[in-house]
């Protein structure tokens, strides 16, 4: 396999890892003010992702770094072109990250509400803006012959991108609720389960609408093949199977299904995108592809060696961290880590 194809796949995997993991902790952040009715409950909710959110976020940092290293033109056109959305995502991630650490270090309701608001909005902003960015990558944006994005901020806020934002916000909220249903106890657990009951069908419906719209917009019907069919279908199927396990009351499997839904949702984007990395709405010849955006084979070879050595370790110790904290988070104040 050509190294640039390998790195396209590798970056797809990094974003998939990021959205599976940070997907539920964004969802948990969005649900914090609604499912946590008092301070102890809010702390329990935060502690369910407490040991993990930082490690989850590194998937994004590595995905960004890998894009920079393997496809510098993609990185440059994307981050320079989508300047304001990425600025807002950064602000969201900043206030959110600090809030987890600072919230409980001062005993004052106003202080805590301020940081809870930071966790909520810091989770919601990236949840809305990442799909906006990816929807536009897939739909195509004005890119000129010199690989420069020539649209504006509001070019990005088209109906298709907003539909994607809506679907993903619902999906991550569901994903967060299904995580909470297996990681918390008592009232929070019950509220999370209730939420899944009325949210799952809406998510499945939104995903179907989004898929149909995507098929029309990207001309999917003209380039049907095994991969472009199977990935979206698994996405939809997994989101529907959520309902099946929900009826049986098997919430571990519900969470597994929301993980699968997110995973195949992200992979679908990359399958539909390949071999392009950014699509020009002005002229197909100006698309950024894995050929014209990539680094040299020498750099890709070094990066491949590094990734093959270190990624297995990362998976091992991150897996271990989830194993250590596999038990449900207590809602007894004395047993909570602050």
């Amino acid at each position: 396999m050509a190294l640039n194809t390998l790195w396209f796949i590798f970056i797809a995997i990094l974003y998939t890892g990021f959205f599976i993991l940070e997907g539920f902790d964004f969802g948990v952040g969005i649900l914090l003010p609604f499912l946590g009715k008092n301070d102890v409950q809010r702390r329990s909710i935060i502690n369910s992702i407490g040991p993990h959110w930082d490690g989850n976020e590194v998937w994004l940092i590595v995905a960004g770094g890998a894009t920079f290293a393997a496809f510098p033109n993609w990185y440059a056109t994307l981050f320079g072109g989508f300047y304001l959305p990425f600025f807002l995502i950064l602000i969201g991630l900043i206030i959110r990250g600090v809030a987890f650490e600072y919230r409980s270090k001062h005993d004052n309701p106003k202080w805590r509400n301020l940081w809870d608001w930071c966790i909520f909005s810091g989770s919601l902003i990236p949840t809305i803006l990442f799909p906006v960015a990816f929807a536009n990558i897939l739909r195509g944006v004005p890119i000129d012959a010199n690989m420069q994005y020539v649209g504006g901020f509001f070019t990005l806020l088209n109906p298709y991108a907003l539909l994607a934002a809506l679907a993903v916000t619902a999906l991550f909220t569901l994903h967060g609720a299904s995580f909470l249903s297996i990681k918390t106890t008592g009232e929070i657990e019950q509220r999370a389960k209730e939420l899944i009951r009325w949210l799952w069908l809406l998510v499945a419906l939104l995903l179907v609408i989004l898929l149909i719209t995507t098929a029309i917009i990207t001309g999917l019907l003209e380039r049907i093949n095994f991969l472009t069919i199977i990935f979206p279908l698994i996405t939809i199927a997994a989101s529907l199977v959520v309902g099946f396990f929900l009826n049986k009351g098997q919430f571990g499997r519900v969470f597994l299904m929301t993980c699968l839904t997110v995973a195949f949702f992200v992979l679908t984007i990359f399958v539909l995108l390949y071999p392009n990395v950014m699509i020009s709405s002005l002229n197909p010849a100006w698309n950024l592809t894995i050929e014209n955006a990539s680094s040299t084979p020498y750099t890709l070879k070094i990066m491949t060696v590094v990734a093959l050595i270190f990624l297995p370790f990362v998976l091992l110790y991150q897996g271990w961290s989830y194993w250590i904290f596999r038990k449900r988070v207590s809602n007894e104040p004395k047993q909570l880590t602050y």
Binding site: A70, L93, D107, T296, Y298, L336, T337
Partner: protein, 463 residues
């Protein structure tokens, strides 16, 4: 303001802010790892309390360092996308490796460490904080390797208008890294040492937990002595390397306008910024040559000659970095560094002689000298980065050719104001918490907080 100036201003502000917190994380994570290891080896509860106390302050500092770090990675693409296009083949790799090798390590194990006190065996728990310390310091290594390429590009060729990697090991073992990395690591230790000296002195003056804080004081004094001397040695090496790698930076930080042999060291040079006319110029003859060549002669090129030389080589333009900033940054950094050597030695002397009760004035001074490492870290970083002017990659890419083409001054103004506001609020919260927990001492840090009684807090039902 134009795009280039705004982009530079934003990068400067965000990197200075980020680097304001990083050195303490580098040094203090090692200190906490050592403390917890002693606790595991001896079973002495005192060291557990020390681990928790300094660990809590580490966490407050760590959080803000992490979140401001993401900004740096994104910013290379956001406001410096032409730079990213040109050097991505080389510069992207160390960043990606930094994430894979270091960030995953530090953030995953920090999460386990914070929440895992009663879930892991003592030894395993201590191993986690070692992973954090190793991860943090490894990340410093890879980002400095990336920065070394900007300061002294090696292992590349320019093909079809962009730089491509030809020798990865040349990039990794770029000569400046052998002085930059130990210099920064030592600066981290010094920052941790002065941070601990200040807080320990505060409590010793109040006879609060004397045993615990004498132990902290002793540890900090030892680390301070080793760290300050090491910073000095590797700083000096860096200064000597400039002769070969960046003579213009050297001439600018010394305000040496004309080539001299042997060259004099400026003690105080003041000139009228508008006319360039030198008002005061106090210099020690030959000293600069001695410091650069280890002998009493040797040519040091002056700003004017280098400017002429660069104009011939790279075309007309201004190749002189803002000398005023470099000159005073350098002197502030070195002055603070020398002062810290003296202070650490005296602190060690106080501890060995057990003079704590005899020198309250010194303990009082120590509560303020915590500012010194921050001053030195910041001015040192300014010196390194501003001294690169007008290049984004030294003698390869000009700043004006690195800035994004599609980003407008309007966008940059929005983001700059946004970062300043958010960063301003965050530093206020950080300082507030730091002061609160520093002053409260280890008793609070090691017991479950009283604040968790649910009835005390009744947040509104919704936002």
């Amino acid at each position: 303001m134009d795009v280039l100036l705004l982009a530079r201003l934003q990068f400067a502000i965000t990197i200075i802010y980020h680097f304001f917190f990083v050195p303490l994380t580098l040094g203090l994570s090692l200190v906490v790892a050592i403390l917890e290891t002693i606790y595991v080896k001896t079973g002495n509860e005192k060291y557990k309390r020390l681990t928790k106390f300094w660990g809590k302050l580490l966490l407050i500092n760590f959080a803000i360092g992490v979140v401001t770090g993401i900004v740096q990675e994104f910013q290379f693409g956001m406001s410096w996308s032409e730079y990213a296009r040109f050097v991505g083949d080389i510069f992207g790799a160390p960043l990606a490796i930094e994430g894979l090798m270091a960030f995953f390590l530090e953030s995953t194990f920090l999460g386990i460490w914070i929440f895992g006190w009663d879930k892991l065996s003592k030894g395993l728990h201590a191993a986690c904080i070692w992973m954090v310390a190793i991860g943090s310091n490894l990340s410093a290594l890879w980002i400095l390797i990336a920065n070394a390429f900007m300061q002294h590009p090696v292992g590349y060729a320019v093909v079809d208008g962009r730089a491509v990697l030809t020798d990865f090991s040349a990039v990794v073992f770029n000569p400046p890294i052998f002085s930059h990395f130990p210099h920064v690591i030592s600066a981290g230790l010094v920052t941790a040492a002065f941070f601990m000296l200040a807080i320990s002195s505060y409590h010793l003056l109040r006879h609060n937990e004397t045993d615990l804080f004498r132990t902290s004081f002793r540890m900090a004094a030892i680390i301070g002595v080793i760290g300050t001397i090491s910073v000095g040695i590797f700083g000096h090496t860096q200064g000597q390397e400039l002769l070969e790698t960046q003579p213009m930076k050297l001439a600018s930080l010394e305000a040496l306008y004309n080539t001299e042999n042997p060259a004099s060291l400026s003690v105080l040079t003041l000139s009228n910024p508008s006319t360039g006319e030198v008002i005061i110029d106090l210099r020690i003859p030959t000293l600069l040559s001695f410091m650069e060549y280890n002998r009493f002669s040797g040519e040091i090129q002056g700003i004017n000659d280098l400017q002429k030389q660069y104009e011939q080589e790279y075309g007309p333009g201004n190749y002189v970095p803002p000398s005023l900033i470099l000159y005073w940054s350098f002197r502030t950094m070195v002055g603070a560094g020398l002062l810290m050597i003296v202070i650490s030695l005296f602190a060690l002397f106080v501890d060995i002689k057990n003079f704590y009760e005899k020198v309250p004035w010194f303990l009082k001074i120590l509560t303020f000298t915590v500012a010194l490492p921050y001053l030195a870290n910041t001015t040192g970083w300014i010196l390194t980065e501003v001294g690169r002017f007008p290049w984004v990659v030294y003698r390869l890419v000009l700043l004006k050719n690195g800035v994004s083409k599609v980003v407008t001054s309007g966008m940059l103004t929005i983001s700059l104001i946004g970062f300043i506001l958010v960063y301003g609020l965050l530093i206020t919260a950080t300082l507030y918490l730091m002061l609160k927990f520093s002053k409260a001492g280890p008793t609070v840090a090691s017991e479950p907080p009283a604040e968790i009684v649910p009835s005390l807090v009744n947040p509104p039902e919704s936002l």
